[in-house]
Every structure is written in C-alpha cells, then in structure tokens.
Symmetry: C2
Subunit: 211 residues, 2 copies
DNA sequence: AGTTAAGTACACAGGTCAGTACCGAGGGGT
DNA sequence: ACCCCTCGGTACTGACCTGTGTACTTAACT
C-alpha cells in the first residue's frame, strides 16, 4: 500500500503537524488559490489527518488568517533592513523580486475572500498599511519632500506590478521600477545630502530595465 | 405568497431572459464575486428559471466569459473618444473614475478563477492588452518618446489603483493620477516637438498636482 | 513502568453548488 | 386560430466541501 513511511522507526510523520499544515497552505493557496483548495487535499499534502488539522485550527478561515500572518517576517520587509544600500537604493530594491513571485498573497486573499469583514481581509489591510509606512519611513530617510505621498505611491506601484504580472502572465516589476525611479527622483528636492545633480547617472543603472 | 407579479396580465416577466441574466450577473459578480454567487441566487435575482438560464448559457463558465465581454463598449474606452480633450488630458482622464468603481472585473475574474486557461482569463488578458494599446496610441499622439513604455506604465497605474482601492477600501486613483502626471510629463520631450533626451527641466513643473 | 498529549483512520452529518429532467403554461407571429 | 418557441416551477442527481464523532495508536515525559 502507498503508505508513505510510518514504519516502526519512521516516527509516523513526526510531531510537527501544525508546521506541515501551514507549509502545505503556502504551497496550495499560492498554486491553486484559497477557495479552490479543500481541506481534504490540504491535509493529504501536509500528511496530516483532518482531525488533527481541526485541532490546530478551529476553522479554515482561521487557517487562512494564520497563513497570511506567516508572511510577516519575510518577503518585502527584508529589503528595508539592508544597511548596505542607500535609502534610495532600498526603495528601488523593493521592485527587484525573484521572477517566481506569483501574486501578493494579501491581494489574492482580499480579492478571493471578497469580504472586508473577514479576518484575513482586515489583516491584509493592516499589512498593506504597514508596508506603506515602511516605504514612507525610507522615503523620509531619502529626503523626500512629502514622504507619505511617495510611500503611498511606491506601494501602489508594487501592487500594480504584482496584480498585472498575474493577469498578463508576464513580469511587470521592471515597468514599475522604471516609474519608481522617476517619481523618486522627482520627489527628492535636488539631492537630500549629497552633491547635487549626480543622481542622473545612477538612475541609468537600475532604472532603465523597463521592458 | 410573495409572488412578484406574474398574474394573468403581468406577461410573466417578458421575453428578455438573457438580458436579465446578464444584468443580474453584473450586479452579483460585482458585489459578491464570481465564486460566491450561485446559479440559484443568480436566477432568483434575474427572475428567470434555471432551466432558461441553461438554455442561454451552456455553463456558468460561459456565462462568466460573456459577462466580461459585456464591459467592452463601456468603462474606460469612453475616455479615448473624448475629442474635446488633448491627448495628454485624455491620458489623465483615465484616472478620473466615479468613486463607486469597485474593482476592475477583469482583474477580479483573473484572480478569482485562478486558471490562466479559463476563457475568461484569456479574455481578461486580451482586454488588458487592448487597454494598454489604446493608452499607447494616445501616448504617441501626445508626443511621447517611447509610447509603448508609457502606455504600459499607465496601464499598470490603473490596475494598481484599482486593486489597491479594493484592498484598502479607500480610493487610490488620485494617488495613481499624481504618478501619471509626473511620468507623462517626463516622457514627453519638452512640449511634444523638441529633441528627445532632455527630460530634466520638464519634470519639475506641472508634475506637482498630487493629492 | 504508566500516563498524557498528539496524531491517525475512517466514516458521516449537513450544506452548497452546478447542471438536468419533466411538465406545464404563456405569448407572438403568421 | 394555429403552432412553436420561450419561459416557469420544482424536484432531483452527483459531486464536493467544511466540520465532527469515535475508537485506536504512538511518542514523549515522569
């Protein structure tokens, strides 16, 4: 029989059922979407019995919320901690995502669930606000005259690139990065704390890869 | 009983079942999403029997595809026909949508269906490409040095504003319009008839009307 | 050892959804 | 008046999905 391996020594698939469930959620929700992924299939992939799953998460909704909470310490936030980059470079680095990035899971969840009251939707809103705040802080660091505005604008560019990449099935982040380079330079008076006029040449590097 | 009115004179709700079905689709798919709208509810709202619905559309998938096809002659395309505006004004007018605009149905469908092979997904791709082409044409008319790039960029801004408005529950089109104003001026040489390559001074001028 | 927490297997309740079958009835054109 | 097309109502099938109940097995801790 296709028993995976729960022999007398294989400790029966281990003790960390919760981790395996969340791992399977990341894979399946990303590949198939939330609504099209049933708990049966999820448990099969996680190699966990359904009973166990519902002992860890009282409902699928709760699992979805926890699944989103799992992305917090990864993805974009890593960009803001790179002290080897100037603030301006950090703002642009947010657009250099690996080509396999599918669709921001928060956007996907908000659209799929279609219920602003759903805990996952509210958490998505919080996350988006937090990302914009991070961008705003970095924009302020970079010397933007209106950091709030620039942060919000950059956040919009990221979301636009993410959703457009999905719909067109073609990487749209270079296009967004080109826009970002323009509005960043436009939002910083002359040069916040450097020699004036010398940001023209630097943009030619990472700001040109449009499409 | 709450019979709506199909009395001996109420002509039984008329002959146009197909129109009522599509009308109900627009309302329900917009308000509840595609996946969360069942055919039973849809038929009830359309005041149409299920039998009739499946005589007009062989499946729900086909209905969804037809529902998307219905948006063609409306929404954005109306902007491009406004001859009372200059090309540049027409590009900006694309961001002045009524505040009740929920989420581009093509984006919603592509995310909800989660299947690039679905006819509706392919049609969404075609539509997005067509919109970008329209923007590109207008950008060329406005004298942009790289109309393809500007058209693609503006399309990304529209989609970003649309999806972000949904997720944040707050109108993001003004933010997108501010970005659009900057990149449009940045992409048009000086006043649409000068030598390219010198986009330095033009960016500071009318690129401020943000939120 | 023995106890307890965690996990397993499997069946099943209860609901929803897409799609169909059957029959009846109205309405419009000719 | 005729016929035929369209629409209505309703019950139904089969699939799938979330969530639960029950009895059993294993790992870890003391």
């Amino acid at each position: 029989m296709p028993e995976v391996e729960k022999g007398p020594l294989g400790r029966r698939r281990g003790r960390g059922a919760r981790e395996r469930i969340l791992g399977a959620s990341q894979q399946l929700f990303r590949d198939q979407g939330i609504n099209r992924t049933g708990m049966d299939q999820l448990c099969a992939v996680a190699e966990v019995s359904k009973r166990t799953a519902y002992q860890h998460f009282t409902s699928k909704d709760e699992l979805v919320a926890e699944y989103l909470r799992r992305f917090d310490p990864e993805v974009l936030p890593g960009v803001f901690d790179r002290t080897d980059l100037t603030p301006r470079e950090r703002l642009l680095a947010a657009f250099e995502l690996p080509p396999s990035t599918p669709l921001c899971p928060y956007l996907a969840a908000a659209v799929e669930l279609h219920d602003p009251q759903h805990p996952a939707s509210e958490y998505a809103r919080d996350y988006k606000t937090a990302i914009a705040a991070r961008l705003t802080a970095t924009a302020r660091e970079a010397g933007a005259t209106d950091p709030e505005q620039l942060g919000e604008q950059l956040a919009l560019l990221i979301d636009g690139a993410s959703v457009r990449t999905r719909v067109l099935d073609r990487d749209s982040f270079p296009t967004a990065a080109a826009i970002a380079a323009i509005i960043i330079d436009n939002a910083i008076p002359a040069s916040s704390a450097q020699q004036p006029g010398d940001d023209r040449e630097t943009t030619a590097g990472p700001a040109r890869p449009t499409r």
